[in-house]
Symmetry: D2
Subunit: 417 residues, 4 copies
């Protein structure tokens, strides 16, 4: 369990820090202005500054860092381990609207590229993976549904019915991140091909191009007042007799649940890595703010309650980072399945801790902290969604406890045996 | 300390509940649609449905309920005590964007009307108070400044300089609620007339009409992702050599701090009363939601963690309401100054408790809870601002503790004496 | 809902405050010394100072204040309502080891006297109730069992079998408060007379004198290191073919659950009233301590974190007291059954809040706060047990939530109808 | 930052686990019985079972594991790094009364041996260090005083005055752990040799044998209801003109503060390591208990709230352990001074987290959890003291925040430069 940075990570980190300081940070305001000036503010990939940043990042070798090496797809992505990627993803998280897409490392494209890399046919890879890796198109992942508790995959109601050489999709989805962007060309849709099959063999994954007849983008969902246009929003979608060729199936019929699970592990740890970057930026902003402000004769930075916030934030984020690193290391050395409990643990712990830190930083800023003048309010909203995304905390706690109970029972059994 | 509803309150409450159920609740969606259709979405007072609601409320005697009786202004307002007003304000709080303005009981107009009632000259009352009481115009209260910790009134930097028969105002303000609405015609501005005077005699209050040259509405401030256009937003203002007649002074030079204090007490308790209504609506929505949703074979309402949320929410809101009622009773019987610690206590306790309840209700709703489909996310944002409004929690806790320490010291002294 | 003190309560309160200040507070150290000097330190009723205090209290009319008036037993007890008793019980709570017994108002005797008053036969009253009311003997209430979760009364395993003119008891009990005192002469024992009956008709209550053959006092239970000898400890008991006359049955066979419920309501609110007194004493001690101590150049009382503790403690205890008063008022006006949810609410809220306050007061005292030099550590242990006593918090939260869900469903139904 | 167990640690860990399972765990009850049977229950080192365990541990090479290697004292102790010692100390922590002393690794002897190793003269080492390392005598560390906030070393009031060839000590100390044991032969006493010197040069450390005239052991301090006789209690001491040879000075005059600091770093991390063992045992006991107990038709282990407790406990302890390991690694690689903030962080985080876990485990056990039947209540008391020991949390948070503020200011300076 060695968390030291190796040579390659150190080199990439230096490069990335320089890129972020010299290019990303100064571009934030321009990015927002350019988005406001677009005819369709959700078409975020059209912002000129983003194109410039992407070109610069690519020229520096900061591209597709998220994609792990594999024998099956030599040469794709940067081939970093999770442990190598973690400190890099953290840095991008502090500039969450701009740095991840600049590096072609933004969700949900990252997860979708992983799915295609692992499960796609050669044809699917050529048609969709290549332009995604090249940053030419965008994608979405359509799993969550409005009418059911989607944390339980057996609740999924969207149907995918085979009809000759085609699949026919009917159903509703919502919170489909990125899908409001007209340049989001391809959707990976989860639905049921066989509602009578075993619990985890009912679901399949299908590629549905945006322009397929019967697919309607109904409306954008808001998050605490934000439409999140900076990364394509969150769409509600309706599928009415949507037909795609049978070759658009990813993997096999009934493989949808397994693919979703394979996708979620890395997705969750990436979220957590970036969230730590959010926390670090919040701490930095809080520390800066409280030095400047004077109330009742003393700078806020000398007041006990503020110091308690800073101390507790620092202590919490240190612990969190270590747990994320341990999880990354375990995924690298033992596989994602073996790291299941650890992935759940960081999925549960991270949003709660980071939300508290951001909330304290907001409070330290006064009303300004909730406004558009600092990135804190927007971070708060983003982090808050993580307490639902990929299943609410409560589902994961329940499951993690079950594992712990079984582990302890086995231990007792062992010590008696 | 009798909290029972008297006959008049019971009657008004019945009327108000009927009005809310039959008129306000059904009008919420229409109000939002009408606002979106306006050329200037901040001009919320132009929404036709609001006019209809106001007419209906007035015809039912539900008008200006907030304004207490007084020998000095017989006949103005409903003349309710705080204890009578509390259960009514709570009901309006559940429909916070629509019910308070329908009854002409919305902040910041309420506080401004109180200021003019208490401190205005006959001329000021005729010119500004009457149209406000009549609901014909809107007003704003300009105190908070961007560059200083405004919780400490001695930090205020806006200057109000006497020049012959006029006052000249220079400075910046922000978070001026309601001021983005073009129909907000009059601003009560706090500034310093004498920076050399005693700590609490430096400030004065001045009436500045919206159309006075030199007054610029710079931009709307956002709260999380909301612009709060439903009640006129929160403006940043710039005053550059703004000149008004000397007769626009409210009260006397150096009286600004005292006027602000007089205004804040009732303002705070009104916020708290309405916030309890927000909490009750959140609990009701949470209970409804969890009966409907099934996950892992059982409705959420039968899951232990959800039940814990419901129980803790109910227990917390009961305690909070009682403390608000006690505070109202104390203000009624002993005056606002005697209730200073109690007002601070509810100011501190309410946002925290209600925020937690709303947050749990959001979590029980899944991602939808954060969206525009339920009032929860918007309530969350509104409640979050209360932890700053009129001074951050931390300032009030410090002050309340000082009072407690003094009280305990006096008690020890007494028991020794 | 009028919480003002009436004339009688005001008079009793003045008398009680004087008694506590002049007699109880100065006697605390002597009481502990006398207990240590006893041959059996659990025989707390033998401490001479206690006898003196009891005589004094009685002469002042401060005796059996807990016992409500009733048509069925005119002349017994002080006949106070719960609302009248609350502020008096709070005062005694601050001196929890000494003041309640001095007034013959200490648990579990209070609950046992209520049971006998309500359900006892004339013979039982003469034999046991009179000496209890007179303070000549002590009693215990034997319900909790070591082998089962006793919060679920259907789990009770102790059997009470009818055999001719006698009942035969077999089983184990623990945490039987007061039973280590050899002067605790009578036990009210809950057991099952009919395990096949309906869920809440299986249990019966029986009077078992201490000296009955087959009844063994096994050992004292400890609470966080305390043996609680100051009020007779908590015994583990074994019943082996213990025989008592059939006339020792309280009420009817199968009535045990109902009697337990009738006993628990008042018992719980008395605990809560006294616990508020514990919190008030903790706040007073905390405030005194932090004025005296200097660290890093400033008294602790001027440090922000300490002030936050004081403010939060004051705000929390104010809310709690109001909820207890409301519950008392509801019990008085609508009966204990109608106040079921409110009794649960205070049962849940009180220990948690008071434990936090006492914990903060301990922390403000430094290590001394945990020691025998202040009453805080002992209070902490006592309050901690309330989170289990009469059922753990979790059981009550679950039940309260069920009631709330039903209430909200009825409301929705009503508003639709 | 490699946290993997190396070969030596793995070997020691296997040995230690076997020793604990086969010898320590079965001896717990006997140890307590033997202590109760002693004439002086504080003379814990006289319990025969302890002697047996110590012999066994020593024969297995499990002796003085705490003492790091050093060029200055080759051959003393096991020479483990902090990182190697951490997983071993954790195991002993689960059996905190018995395992650490069995291995001669119990506080305060460990810290005192370190002080003598680092700062003792050859004569002092021969006279005191050797028998301590050999386990033949016990020692105490006398720093905390009753009358001042000892977290601020400048408050120390005990005077150490040079008089010819002797030092004369006057003052009071309390909470001197281990000192109630009559076999505790030597005290390291901190006092002021020069109250006029610089803030951190006023204090000196002196060796004072137990039997020196003028040294009185006044009384044992209690922790909650525990006297902690299992490890010699906590004594109040009075020094009245206590004279020792000048050669009893440790290090130099004015060096007391530096020696205390040198002692505290390792002491704190050892406490934290062992506390994690306490948490692990609490989780294990909680998991076992909830499988057995049934309430309302389902085992507790299937109830959502209990599962939440288990999940949160597991997640918290994982994070804590990683932070302790990182701190150990930093101390090993960069020195204790460089790890100052990290040591503070674990000192702050550990007691809070472990206290919560133990509290949950207690609640899951019902009233039994607070009793002598499980080790939880005693653990709770022990952990609670850690929130004061070596300075209260609040002092450390304040200091850690100051460091963070400075670090962030330097970073801003750097990024601007």
């Amino acid at each position: 369990m060695d968390f030291a940075l190796d040579a390659r990570t150190t080199e990439l980190r230096t490069e990335l820090l320089d890129f972020v300081d010299t290019h990303v940070a100064p571009a934030e305001a321009r990015f927002h202005d350019e988005l406001e000036a677009l005819e369709d503010r959700f078409a975020w990939t059209q912002a000129p500054v983003l194109g410039e940043l992407r070109a610069e990042a690519r020229s520096r070798g900061l591209w597709n860092l998220f994609l792990p090496a594999s024998d099956e797809h030599p040469g794709l992505g940067a081939g970093l381990t999770n442990l190598q990627y973690a400190p890099l993803a953290e840095i991008t998280g502090a500039y969450g609207h701009l740095a991840p897409p600049a590096l072609n490392c933004a969700a949900p494209d990252t997860g979708n590229m992983e799915v295609l890399t692992m499960f796609g046919t050669a044809e699917q890879k050529e048609r969709w993976l290549e332009p995604l890796l090249d940053g030419r198109i965008r994608s979405a992942f359509a799993m969550t549904e409005p009418d059911v508790a989607s944390s339980d995959a057996t609740n999924i109601e969207t149907s995918i019915r085979r009809d000759g050489d085609e699949y026919v999709v009917n159903g509703r989805k919502w919170w489909i991140t990125g899908a409001m962007n007209p340049e989001c060309e391809i959707f990976i849709v989860m639905g049921k091909t066989d509602p009578e099959a075993d619990r985890h063999r009912q679901q399949s994954m299908l590629l549905v191009p945006r322009d397929t007849p019967g697919l309607t983008v109904v409306r954008p969902m808001h998050v605490l007042g934000y439409d999140d246009h900076e990364h394509g929003g969150h769409a509600e979608l309706r599928f009415t007799d949507v037909r795609v060729p049978a070759s658009n199936l990813i993997g096999e019929e009934g493989g949808g649940f397994a693919i979703a699970q394979a996708r979620l592990g890395p997705g969750r740890i990436h979220h957590c890595m970036r969230a730590i970057g959010v926390a670090e930026r919040a701490i930095a902003l809080m520390c800066e703010r409280v030095e400047d402000r004077v109330a009742f004769g003393r700078p806020l930075s000398r007041q006990g309650v503020i110091r308690e916030w800073i101390a507790e934030s620092r202590i919490a984020v240190e612990q969190l980072r270590l747990l994320v690193l341990k999880t990354a290391w375990l995924m690298d050395t033992s596989g994602n399945r073996a790291a299941h409990s650890e992935i759940q643990a960081i999925k549960i712990a991270t949003p709660k801790v980071v939300q508290e830190i951001v909330d304290r930083a907001i409070q330290a800023h006064g009303a300004g902290g909730l406004s558009q003048d600092f990135p804190l309010a927007s971070s708060f909203a983003g982090i808050r969604t993580l307490r639902f995304a990929d299943g609410p905390d409560e589902v994961h706690k329940n499951s993690l406890a079950k594992t712990e109970l079984a582990r302890q029972a086995a231990r007792r059994e062992g010590s008696r045996g």
